[in-house]
Amino acid sequence: MTAQAKRRNLLLDGLAQIGDAGLFLPTLLAAVPRSLRYFRETVRQLWFVGAMSLIIIMTCGLFVGMVLALQLYHVLEIFGGTASTGTVVALSVYRELGPVVTALLFAGRAGTSITAEIGLMRATDQLSAMEMMAVDPVAYVATPRFIAGIIAMPLLCCVFSAMAIFGGHLVGVTWLGIDNGTFWSNMTSNVDVWKDVIDGVIWKGLAFGTVVTLISVHQGYTTPPTSEGVAYATTRTVVASSIAILAIDFVLTAFMM
């Protein structure tokens, strides 16, 4: 096969995956009423993809905020604007870094585990066994994870953003000596709850949560039932989610400006 043919196949395969995932979305949504029966399973998944992701989200949020404050302080110092450090940290985190970095971490931590878990269930015939027990695996396995991902992502974005601002405060106020009152008052007067927090953290979080969990669940559900198939599906989850997050972020930002 020529290099050109390989590239064409890769492109066609990618387009086919996007189309297939798009077709899978109505199946998931149609199964939502049936999956309400499995409320406990949804809560269990919420715990797994949400609560169990807290440590990595909080840790990364803290360090992102700290490094952001450190970098901004030294840049703003050139213009004599160090008092704005808190504001710039908050705007960067709420509008972009919070939702985007959270989504990337979420794809790596929760998305891959969703894909691998469902993929292994496929490979070991557990999904077929459910079908044979007259239990709809889309409603029992896929949809609860999908719902849990959509709920968890905005919440994790909030936690990440809070920790990032806390990290910024630690570096800016405690270490670099910015006045505590200036840090908070500048931030609160320049950050708009609706435009920055709701649009950035909540709406972007919801969008990224939907896309990442859709990709994760779809990759797991359609993976070839082999160990190699599960490995590829897990990799594709991270790659496709990362590209989708950044592309959707650009589109959403353009619309929100």
């Binding site: 269930m121 079908e131 044979m132 027990m133 007259a134």
Partner: protein
């Protein structure tokens, strides 16, 4: 009683209206399935009698597991009709299919136990999904089924803690939890030691006799089949090539049974997968 299919199918047999007639719980007519252009079934006709243990045998890749998937509606055929207990599987809605599956047990080759749940919860799973029985009753039913397969004491073990034979017995307990009319066993003897194999054999026979369950076994082990089956169906080349009593079918003299039961490497089922000219593949034609 020996006999070959391939007899002309009468209109009365072929018509859907006549499907429930007779003692056949599963009736297959003219089933044709193709994978990538290759016909796995080519007008397969088959009856599975009610209340009996029928073994489906045949060379590897002949479509035995595919047939089970057709029976349970997991896979649609390209042509032909298939009735289970008088219901045309291809025409059932998803709800109808699920209703049918509640009356059919399926034992997967790898047991397919739910790895997140322990043995008790695996067996209780169908009950919890389809009934609102009180917890005490679910407990009693599950323990009864586990007792039947000899694993009541393993109720709290996880699937990862079970041997292959134990996992197969747990899967069997789960398959019979609703007292189904039909159980489909996909290679139930693979990988079992003689003790576990005999335990599974005994269970299949006991379930058939005590509950009157119709059983369909897909297996290769003739010695085991001879102990347990009432009837053997040999499938090859997409059709039923022989059927009869397990102790008689091996001696019926047909080339198919002679090769399959005699373990001959070549015969009607060729040793070589269809291929082009060997010499040409090796490039000998060009150098000569």
């Amino acid at each position: 009683m020996l006999g070959y299919l391939g007899h002309p199918m009468t209109d009365a047999i072929a018509s859907p209206e006549s499907a429930p007639a007779g003692d056949a719980l599963v009736r297959v007519r003219g089933l044709t399935t193709r994978f990538s252009g290759r016909a796995v079934f080519d007008g397969l006709d088959l009856d599975i009698p009610r209340g009996k243990i029928t073994a489906i045998m045949g060379p590897s890749g002949t479509g035995k597991t595919t047939l089970l998937k057709h029976i349970t509606g997991q896979l649609a055929a390209d042509e032909g009709e298939l009735w289970v207990d008088g219901e045309d599987v291809a025409r059932l809605s998803r709800e109808g299919l699920f209703k049918l599956r509640e009356r059919v047990g399926y034992l997967f080759q790898n047991s397919a136990l739910l790895t997140d749940f322990d043995v008790f919860e695996n067996v209780a799973f169908p009950l919890r999904q389809h009934t609102k029985l009180p917890e005490e009753l679910i407990r009693d039913i599950v323990l009864t089924k586990l007792q039947a397969v000899g694993l009541r004491g393993a109720a709290r073990l996880m699937p990862s803690e079970l041997s292959g034979g134990m996992a197969r017995r747990v899967a069997l307990a789960r398959a019979i939890v609703f007292d189904p009319m039909l159980i489909l066993y996909d290679e139930p003897f693979v990988g079992l030691d003689p003790i576990a194999l005999n335990q599974v054999l005994k269970l299949i026979r006991t379930l058939n006799e005590t509950l009157g369950i119709t059983s369909v076994l897909v297996a290769h082990e003739l010695a085991a089949i001879q102990q347990v089956a009432d009837r053997v169906v040999l499938i090859a080349n997409g059709k039923v090539v022989a059927e009869g009593h397990p102790k008689e079918i091996a001696d019926d003299g047909s080339p198919w049974t002679r090769q399959f039961f005699g373990g001959e490497p070549d015969g009607p089922v060729p040793f070589h997968y269809p291929a082009g000219d060997y010499a040409a593949d090796l490039g000998l034609g060009e150098t000569a």
